[in-house]
Amino acid sequence: MAHVLTVDDSITMRQMVRFTLASAGHQVDEAGNADEALERARVRRFDLVVADVNMPGRSGIELVKALRELPGYKFTPILMLTTESDAALKQAGKAAGATGWLVKPFDPDTLISVLRRVLD
């Protein structure tokens, strides 16, 4: 069982991620923006972070950069879950240190399988 942090300004999307991952036996914490996510990440270490790109305040890519600077998050898998599919944005996410890029809407089975792959 992994401890996952989902970051999205949409409560619906957070609930969908939580429902999907919890049904697969994972423990899920939620954050509504990048700052809240960083606070939670400082308090405890997560095995995986699933973050949106477009959020009020700091973007998801900035969150990835900030997370990579935290101790213990250098190799933590970080998945970007967004409606954006622009290649340049994907490249920016990759350069920032994101592990994967999922385009919304996600298929629950796909999300779970991707999670297993990156955690293995």
């Binding site: 949409s10 619906t12 409606t83 919304k104 996600f106 629950p108």
Partner: protein, 443 residues
Amino acid sequence: MNPVALALRDHRARVPLVGAALLAPWLWSIFLLPLWAIAVSLLLTLAAAVFILVRILPPARDERAADDGGCDAAERLRKARRRDAEQRDLMHQTIFTLHTHVHRWVNTSEHSQGDLRRVQTEVGQVLKHVESAIVQIGESFSAIMNKTAAQTECAMKLLRSEDGDQAAKNGAWLSLPDYIHAYESQLSSVTERMIEFAAVTGAFEEHQRKMREHTVTVDDLLDELRAMAKQTGKLALESSMLAGSAANHRHLVTLTDTIRSISEKAHETTRSIRLNLDAIREQLVESHKTMRTASEIGARAATQAKVDVAQLNLAMMDKTAEVKDAVEHINLIGNDVQVEINRIIVAMQFQDITQQKLERLHQPVLSRVIEDLRVIADESTRLKGEAGYWLNSSVKADAPFQLVRGGVSVPLELREAAVIAADEPHPVPSPVVPKDGGSVELF
């Protein structure tokens, strides 16, 4: 204004002359006519003067230039041309501003049309997504409800007879409670038979115990017979020795009595042994009967139990297969339900994406369109008022237009004005402060 007063004002220089000319013929009669005739004559003269001023004499404006002895013709002409130029400039500025405004209105409306087309497209997609999501959610919920009902039905089948009571009586497709009752009944029957068998076994054990007791008695009697035989042997030896000597006749008699006594005792013992053997035989017969009964009961119970259990086992195997099928079916339905839930998750994500798209549309695009239209409306309202004033004091429409650039008036045709207006930067209207106090950013 009163035409009489206007005529008096315009011909104020001529009024004394006209009055004198009209009164002169009457001067000679002042001293001849009575006073009332003079008054009537003065009134008639005054009326005649007014009539001449208003109706006969030409308007004073037409002759002003000719009569204005203080201005020369060149100066008046220059003034008139300057007024014309000013009014043409005013007219041109009005038309130029109107044209610029219309040009901006066209640009803004085209831009707004583009935004609105984008809004229309996005809203169309949004509606499509929302409709798709709603339909998908509804179908998924309906499917989940149907599948849950099927699961329940499948589970309930395990708890009731497939074909009703008649089938249950025939031993086919009993419900699980029926199976439990059948097993309970079967177990009770077997238990009763086993208790019966145990009772028979108890009787058999009693016979066995009695037989052991008789056996012990026979052993004791045999020991006694062995002792008597040994004693008889000794006595026989002694009697033979006594018979050889023939001296101790008294001893021989005593010995003979003893032997007789032993013989009687042996006879008694033999009779006891016979009785014990008879008892043992009898017990053996009873034991045999008991054992036969027990065997028959046991065999009957075992056979019956075997038959019953075999029937129940067969039925239970069928029921187990049915349960297995039902559980597999329930699992399949559960998988289908999971698929439907996944679809709902996807549909709800569509809903969320749609909401975000609407928010993005609502804030930048629609706000900009609304602000543009509001600014244009304000400008149009202001310009309408100004144009009304300018048009009230405008010059002839066919006069050539002039564009004032750096204080120099340049004649301009309408078509040229349109081209210049399109090329020149549009005047930036003053920012409009919205009601909520926020600033407006114009593009």
